[in-house]
């Protein structure tokens, strides 16, 4: 189970938005858009409608950000907005929302491929599966030190300092290795996109 630790960068970004830096909100969108997409798609089946609701969620979040006081983690707060926006969207169209609520912990692990109705075409499924396969192979092909730090960061949610203690190396080395691992994976993804 992933640790629900509030990310320092989310708080920093929120504080910057509250001081007038809209580009900080761009980064929050980039960071959480896939998760919000996954949450919304549990309620809304049509892909185009999902896109509309995702955008509406983030606009609502921006409007409410002025009063956000970090009492909960930013993602927890955003998750609630996504759920409420999805439900209201369905109610406005006389559609009944699901009787269950998506659990916050599950929201990061849902398989949304079974939920979308009009975009699970063979081509899309193939493309998704292919991408996942390439990423998995690329991770396995990484040098051991790079693979280890990436796995510790992504799956164990450890800080750089914690990883440096485990690996018995400086924090700067941990940071550099994680970056190099991501760079290698990015090149593979870029190749598929091209």
């Amino acid at each position: 189970m992933k640790n629900e630790q509030p990310k320092i960068s989310d708080d920093q970004l929120v504080a910057r938005v509250q001081k007038g830096d809209k580009s900080a909100f761009d980064l929050l969108v980039l960071k959480h858009q896939f998760k919000v997409h996954a949450i919304v798609s549990r309620y809304v089946k049509d892909f185009d409608e999902v896109n509309d609701v995702v955008q509406e969620t983030f606009i609502k979040a921006y409007r409410a950000l002025e009063n956000f006081r970090s009492e909960s983690a930013f993602y927890t707060w955003l998750y609630r907005i996504a759920v409420n926006t999805s439900k209201n969207y369905l109610l406005a169209r006389n559609r009944r929302p699901p009787s269950f609520d998506l659990d916050l912990d599950d929201s990061e692990y849902i398989e949304q491929n079974s939920q979308l109705q009009n975009h699970d075409s063979p081509d899309n499924i193939l493309a998704k599966n292919e991408l996942e396969k390439v990423i998995n192979i690329s991770i396995k092909e990484l040098p051991a030190d790079l693979r280890t730090v990436l796995m510790l960061r992504e799956f164990e949610d450890l800080s750089y300092e914690q990883i440096s203690d485990i690996m018995d190396c400086p924090v700067g080395t941990v940071r550099s290795r994680i970056f190099r691992a991501r760079e290698a994976l990015e090149e593979k993804i870029k190749g598929m996109e091209n």
Binding site: A24, E111, E154
Partner: protein, 208 residues
């Protein structure tokens, strides 16, 4: 694995990677945020970091769509937080000035009022404690009692004891806000009381 990039680009992307993990320094955050709006490749890099993470955690979407550009355009139309209008910049200092000005005005008025009324207002007087160095039956000017001459015009001066009883221990307490007419009457009573007291003392001395 060969990745050709400039040193600056390298540092920027490494900062982005640290930001992704919540491990970036404040200055790096500042640099990245400054660069992000106009740097398409940097935004793409972030998106690919997200794809990697989503794939590792099992929530990779079917169609990877970047909403950030559309949302960014929509957010540009929304109000910007933290920025004040010109009037808001002026309100606080003007407000402070107004408060300071009103306090100063009240103080000045209060001072003037006090100056004008200080001799005969807010006075607790026990007539028995007043030392009167007066020669017999002389008309004393009101100035000796600290009263401006104009205020003492109507003071009754008499060598005869007043029939109306004036308590020698009469205490005058005058509110600073009282009307000046009331104050004059009270001054008169006070002076009459003083003179009466004096006359009584004189008579005692003479009889002794």
């Amino acid at each position: 694995m060969v990745v050709n990039m400039s040193v600056n680009e390298h540092h920027l992307k490494e900062a982005l990677s640290a930001m992704f993990d919540g491990e970036a320094k404040e200055i790096e955050l500042h640099r990245v945020l400054k660069e992000l709006p106009s740097n398409g490749p940097l935004r793409d890099t972030w998106r690919r970091y997200e794809v990697t993470s989503a794939s590792m955690h099992g929530y990779l979407p079917y169609i990877i769509r970047d909403f950030s550009s559309e949302i960014s355009s929509a957010v540009k139309l929304e109000k910007t937080y933290g920025k004040k209008s010109i009037s808001q910049y002026l309100i606080k200092p003007l407000g402070r000035f107004a408060v300071a000005a009103s306090v100063a005005t009240v103080a000045l008025l209060g001072m003037q009022e006090y100056k004008n009324t200080t001799e005969y207002s807010s006075v607790f007087v026990k007539t028995e404690n007043i030392q009167l160095n007066l020669s017999s039956s002389s008309l004393r000017s009101s100035a000796e009692f600290g009263i401006p001459p104009t205020m003492a015009r109507n003071v009754a001066i008499s060598n005869h004891s007043k029939k109306e009883s004036i308590t020698s221990n009469e205490i005058l307490f005058q509110s600073k806000k009282s009307d000046s007419d009331l104050t004059r009457e009270q001054i008169q009573r006070y002076l009459d009381g003083l003179l009466h007291r004096y006359n009584q003392n004189e008579e005692k001395l003479i009889s002794e």
